[in-house]
Structures are given as structure tokens and as C-alpha cells.
């Protein structure tokens, strides 16, 4: 998805130049081949299967007090949302929600800065770059629970207390940073070095060229990195399990609820956390589109 986010400016500008590239391959110019209808059906089925179950739990979370875990819907109310934030037996939802948001914000900031710098570093080959690259890939594909246990044992051995803002923060970064850097690769590969050289020719310092040329040009990509940083941290589970210490983050709270809560509170929590995710996704994609639009109008005028 990274590449496509980065692709957005490219397609918008190139569309007017080469309309021919938008033509699909079809044996006959006008009609669609039968494969189109078959694949369109598959695609529709996939999207329904992707979103259908999620919508079921959103709908079921609005039942009243008689509500159960399955259809049919029993009444309509906000009972289970109130229950979620007031009942003690469902655990410390408010606190974990609070912690998860704070943690996600910290992770996002670090991810954007570190990924941007790493993106700059990887533009040129340097001695040992392959080691760093495969270290990153390793961090991405390593089983999260194993890494989490290792981090937990490491903190134990060093006599440090595991907590959400130390060990869990680091464990989450080992997950968000590889994604962030991969997105930066996609973004950087479309950055035209002539702009940077032009800045140097006009007497810009290295810092000025980064601040006045690179960051504004790469802004949509950086927003995409932020989106990855926030959502991957906010939903991270396996790596946090052994590293969060005594206070839960939200996914850990949801995990413990799946094991012992059998009321629609669980669905209500699912609805709340998904709303937060959707707000973040919407805001990020909206920002990217806005930047592109602003650029488009400035280029024309």
C-alpha cells in the first residue's frame, strides 16, 4: 500500500499526459471479456468477506441489556458502551485506552523521524548497508512473541522494570520501524534528485535542502509513514504481551476480554477501537489528498 500512496501524485499528473496507459487489456475494444465478470465477482466477494464480519460486530454492539454474542439483534441501546467504561469486571479499559493512544503518538513521532533519516541514508550504498537492511527484515519477520519474551528477559536480567513506555515502546519500534523504512524506500525512489541538486546550486546548506526541499516534497510519504507508525503501534499485540509490564495497553485488554468476557461489551470495545483507527486512517489519507490538491492548483496557477 505504501507504493500506491506514494504513487498518487504520479498518477494524477501522468494521467493527463498518457491516457492510453489507463486502458485495460481486453481482446475486444468495447465489450468486457467473461473473465472480467468472473474476477469482478471474486473481488466483490472478497471485499464483502473483508468488511462483512466487522460490520456484524459493530451492529451487535448497539444491543440493549438482553443482548448476546450472536444475531438476532436484541433491542437497541448504548448499554454496552456505558458498561465498557463503568464496569470493573471488564477491566481497566479507560486506562489502557489512554496508554495506547499516548504510546502510539510517541511511536509515531520516533518512527517518522528515524525512518526519514534511514531513508536518506539508504539512498547511497555504504559499507555494511546490507547488514542493516537484513537486520530490519529480520526484525519484521521474527515471531513477535519470541522477540517480546527476549526483551522481557533482557530487562529482567538488567534489573530494569518492564513498562509500556520503555520495553513495550522499544518492542513496538522493532515492528513499526521496518514498515516505516520500507515505505520511505517507496517514497524516496520517486524523489527527483535534480531538485536537491538545484537547492545546492542555489547555495542551500544541507539542512536547508532537507527542510525546504525534501520535507515539503516528501510530505505525503511522511504522512503515510505516520499512519503506519500510529496504527501498527495502536493495534500491536504479540510484541507487547511480555514487555508491557503491569499496566495493559488496549490490545492486551481486548485479548484478556476475549478469554473471559462473553457479553457484547467486547463488541462495543471493538467498535470504539475501530472508530479510532478509522479516524486516524481518514485523517491521514485526507491530509495526503489535500497536499496533492494544493500542489495541483499551485502548479496550474
Amino acid at each position: 500500500m505504501s507504493a500506491v500512496l506514494a504513487d498518487m501524485p504520479k498518477t494524477e499528473t501522468s494521467k493527463t499526459v498518457v491516457p492510453a496507459s489507463t486502458k485495460a487489456i481486453a481482446p475486444s475494444k468495447g465489450g468486457r471479456p467473461w473473465t472480467f465478470y468472473a474476477l469482478a465477482t471474486l473481488f466483490a466477494a472478497y471485499v464483502i468477506a473483508l468488511y462483512g464480519p466487522m460490520f456484524c460486530i459493530y451492529v451487535l454492539s448497539f444491543q440493549d441489556i438482553r443482548g448476546g454474542l450472536v444475531f438476532p439483534m436484541k433491542g437497541q441501546s448504548l448499554h454496552w458502551f456505558v458498561d465498557l467504561f463503568t464496569q470493573v469486571r471488564t477491566g481497566d479499559v479507560k486506562g489502557s485506552f489512554d496508554r495506547s493512544i499516548k504510546l502510539a503518538v510517541i511511536v509515531t513521532i520516533i518512527t517518522v523521524v528515524v525512518s526519514f533519516l534511514a531513508g536518506l541514508g539508504f539512498r547511497k550504498r555504504f559499507r555494511g548497508d546490507t547488514v542493516v537492511f537484513y537486520m530490519m527484515i529480520g526484525s519484521l519477520v521474527a515471531p513477535g512473541l519470541v522477540l517480546g519474551l527476549g526483551t522481557g528477559l533482557l530487562f529482567q536480567a538488567l534489573g530494569l522494570n518492564a513498562s509500556w513506555y520503555t520495553s513495550a515502546l522499544g518492542a513496538q519500534l522493532s515492528w513499526t520501524l521496518p514498515f516505516g523504512v520500507l515505505v520511505m524506500f517507496a517514497v524516496m525512489s520517486r524523489f527527483n534528485h535534480a531538485w536537491e541538486e538545484a537547492a545546492y546550486d542555489l547555495g542551500a546548506s544541507r539542512w536547508q535542502s532537507v527542510r525546504l526541499v525534501m520535507i515539503p516534497v516528501l510530505a505525503p510519504g511522511l504522512v503515510a509513514v505516520a499512519l503506519f507508525g500510529f496504527t501498527l503501534s495502536y493495534d500491536e499485540f504479540a510484541r507487547s504481551l511480555q514487555t508491557a509490564g503491569s499496566l495493559n495497553t488496549l490490545p492486551l485488554e481486548i485479548w484478556s476480554m476475549t478469554l473471559n468476557v462473553t457479553s457484547p461489551s467486547l463488541y462495543a470495545l471493538g467498535t470504539v477501537t475501530t472508530i479510532v483507527s478509522f479516524i486516524v486512517i481518514g485523517a491521514s489519507l485526507g491530509t495526503i489528498v489535500l497536499i496533492q490538491k494544493k500542489r495541483g492548483s499551485r502548479a496550474k496557477g
Binding site: A3, V4, T11, K15, T35, F36, L39, L42, Y46, V47, L50, P53, M54, C56, V70, F71, S115, L117, A118, G121, K124, F126, R127, G128, D129, T130, V132, M135, G138, A142, P143, L145, V146, L147, L149, G150, T151, L153, L154, A157, G170, A171, S174, F185, S189, E197, Y200, T231, D235, F237, A238, Q242, P251, I254, L266, G270, T274, S277, V280, I281
Partner: protein, 292 residues
Amino acid sequence: MQPSQTPSRVNFAGWLYVSPLVLVLVPFFVAPILVVLAASFFATDGFGGLTPGFTLASYVEVLHSALTLKLYLATIKFTVLTWIFTLIIGFFVAYFLVFHVRNQLLAIGLFLLCTVPFWTSNIIRMISWIPLLGKEGLINQVLLAMGVIRQPLEILLFSDLAVVIAYVHQLTIFMIVPIFNSMARIDKKLIEAAIDAGASRLDIMRLIVVPMSKSGIALGTIFVVSIVMGDFFVVKVMSGGGSASVVSAFYEDVGVLQYPTAAASAVLLTLVLVAIVSLILRTVDIRQEITR
């Protein structure tokens, strides 16, 4: 860039830029892996205490246990099934978006529609199958009402089937994205030329599209295989405790403070994973693929 930079300056600048990344990955990826490796050779008092030393007892225990083989077979079964389904669905969804949707903005919109759930909670997406697959769930209700079945099907939820459904639901996106990327780079003129030369639809698929999306397929496979093999919570929740995988057994070991056994099994799993991933990497230069 500024002209006339010596190689040593380039090396220095490169390391300077990636140093923050390295400063995170060393303590939170390299060190934990080494700690787990060390712990696998330690002895335990059975109460979570580790005695530094060097013993292969944990490996002997893991390798001798009949359970280990069963766990690996179960994990491989889930991995292969998930891989097949995500590959088929992912390939054709990407193919549809790249080659059949004529409006490029629409294609990107539909692509984003597929990716949005990736940015939401996996756990929530998993439990959202409960109201559908449960014994009193929607699918059983519909089938009963239609008269297709007399008894509610019990194998829908808390079974291996449910585990595979949840995996495919979560991981198909990891196939779609890289395959979409490599397919989008295929020059459409190539296919038009093939059509002009009389190639059939199957020929185009077999001789052009599949070979040219190979790198995307390889990348997607790495993602799907490593996530399924490293997963424990989907297996635990969706099988209702009926099935186990290597990592869910690891989780149980950690729960009862059997750190050395857990660590030994984690080291073995990591070796298996590294072997599989490097086998796949032999077919594709991942770095060149990602950075170009």
C-alpha cells in the same frame, strides 16, 4: 548531492543517517534474539529462575517430545493452507485491479478499500467471525432456515477451518500489495503485442503475467509464511483451544515459566523460518525489488 565525496565520507554519512535505526534494532531485535538463544542453553529451577550455564537438555527435551512433531505438522498444515488461499485470492484480486479496472484513480480507490482493514485491530477482526460462524451464528441460522442442514454445523467455529478462515481474512492483504506492485510495473504494450501475435489468455497468464509477478509473489509469501508460523493468538482463540501451533505451545511454556524449553523451541522455529525465507530469497533480490 555535493560533489567530490570520498568513499569514507559516504560510508560515514550513511552510517550517521541509519544510526538511530540501528540504535533501536540492536537492543530490541538483536539483543532479545541473543537472550533467547542464551536462555535455551540455561537450566531452570522450574519457577522462572534461570541458572546460567550450558546444557542441551532443553533441546533434547524438545526434540524428543512426540508433541513437537505434532506441533510442527499442525503449523505447516495451517501455513500451507493459508498460503494457497491467500495466494489464489491475492493474485486474482491484484490481477483484476491492475488489468481490468480501466480508470486508474478507481483502481487506487479499490486498492485502498482492500488495505483499510490492515490498519485496524487484528484481534477485533478475528473475533468478528464469532457472530457469523458460531453454533447459533448467522451462517448456521441461514442454512437451517433454508433447510440445507437439520443440525447446526459445529465445525464452523472453534475448529481448524475457523483458524484458516481467520488467517486468510487477515493475511490476503500481504499478498495483494506486493503482487499488485509488481503487476503494475508490467508494460501493457507487452500484453498487447502478445495478443497481436496470437497468444491465448492462458498463454499471457502463463508466459507473461505469472513470471513477471514472481517477485511480488515471493515477497507476499515471506510475509504470510512468517506471520502464520509466528502466530499464536489466532490458533488459540479460533480453534477454541482444540489446536496448537509451535508458538502457541511456546506461549503455554512461558505461562508456566518453562523459559529454557520455550527458548529452545523458539530457536528451532527461528532456524526453520530462516531456512524457508532464505530459500525464497534465492529466487528474488528483495532489496533491489523494494528500493527500485
